[in-house]
C-alpha cells in the first residue's frame, strides 16, 4: 500500500477537495482516507462526490445503500456540520476496486461519526456501495461541500 498524496484544508476552508492526475497502476485499488467536517449552519451537510475518468468529468454512478438504487453524475453522503460539537469529524474510507480497469468499476464508502451536540449523542454510520458505469480509468476524485480547516485526505494505491 503506497501513500501517493495527502491534502489538508487550510484557514478559510474549502468548497471542493480534489486529487487529479492519479498515477495509473494496473490491477491497483484506490483507497482514500478522509477526516471531514462542514461549516454549514446545520447538524449535517450532504456532500457530493465525483469520480472522473480520462474522457469524462463525471461518470454515472449507482448507489445501493438500503437497497435503493439511484444514479446521476455523482453520489453523496453526510458529514457533521457546525451544530455538532467542534471536535467531531467524519472518518471516511473510500475504496475503488481495480480503478484502471476498462470495465465498470465497484466502489465502497464507509463513513462514520458521532452526532454529538453538547457532549451528548449517538454515533452515525453510513455504508454505501457503488458501481461506476464508466469504462474509463479513474484519474481524479473530487468531493464538494463546505469543508472546514484541518479536514484531511490521504490517497493510497493498493496493488
Amino acid at each position: 500500500m503506497n501513500l501517493i498524496g495527502t491534502l489538508e484544508v487550510g484557514a478559510g476552508g474549502a468548497a471542493d477537495i480534489e486529487f487529479i492526475n492519479i498515477p495509473q497502476v494496473a490491477d491497483g485499488n484506490l483507497l482514500l482516507l478522509m477526516s471531514l467536517r462542514s461549516d454549514e449552519g446545520n447538524t449535517r451537510e450532504i456532500i457530493t462526490q465525483r469520480v472522473g475518468g480520462a474522457a469524462a468529468n463525471g461518470n454515472y454512478l449507482a448507489r445501493t445503500d438500503s437497497g435503493a438504487i439511484s444514479g446521476g453524475n455523482g453520489t453523496s453522503y453526510i458529514i457533521p456540520a457546525s451544530q455538532i460539537d467542534n471536535d467531531i469529524f467524519a472518518l471516511t474510507k473510500f475504496l475503488i476496486f481495480d480503478y484502471t480497469s476498462t470495465n465498470n468499476k465497484l466502489a465502497q464508502i464507509e463513513n462514520v461519526y458521532v452526532e454529538k451536540v453538547n457532549n451528548n449523542g449517538d454515533s452515525k454510520m453510513y455504508l454505501q456501495n457503488e458501481r461506476f458505469y464508466s469504462t474509463s480509468a479513474v484519474t481524479s476524485v473530487k468531493f464538494s461541500g463546505d469543508f472546514v480547516e484541518n479536514c484531511t485526505a490521504s490517497l493510497y494505491i493498493i496493488s
Binding site: I4, G5, T6, L7, V9, G10, G12, G13, A14, A15, D16, I17, E18, F19, I20, N21, I22, P23, D39, I46, I47, T48, R50, R63, D65, S66, A68, S70, G72, N73, G74, T75, S76, K142, S144, D146, L155
Partner: protein, 81 residues
Amino acid sequence: MSETPVKVVVDLSKPKGQRESIIELTQAEIDEREVMATEAEAQRLVDEQAKADAEATRQSGLDKLIALGLTEAEALALVGA
C-alpha cells in the same frame, strides 16, 4: 469559508512539494456544485421516504400476523427481527 469559494487541488503528476494548489471556483463549477447538491438532497429525501414506507409495510404485516393469533415473537421470526 472565504467569500469566493475555493478548491484544494492535489495534482499527483507534479513533484512533491508542488502538488497542492488553492484555486478559486469558476462560475461553471459553482453552478455544478449547486446542481449536484440539489440532486443529492432530492435523492436523500427519496431514500428516506423509501425507508419509511418499507418500515410501515413491515409493521402493517406484523400487525396482521399478530391479529391472526401469532405471538409477536412468532411473527418476528417469520418476517425477521
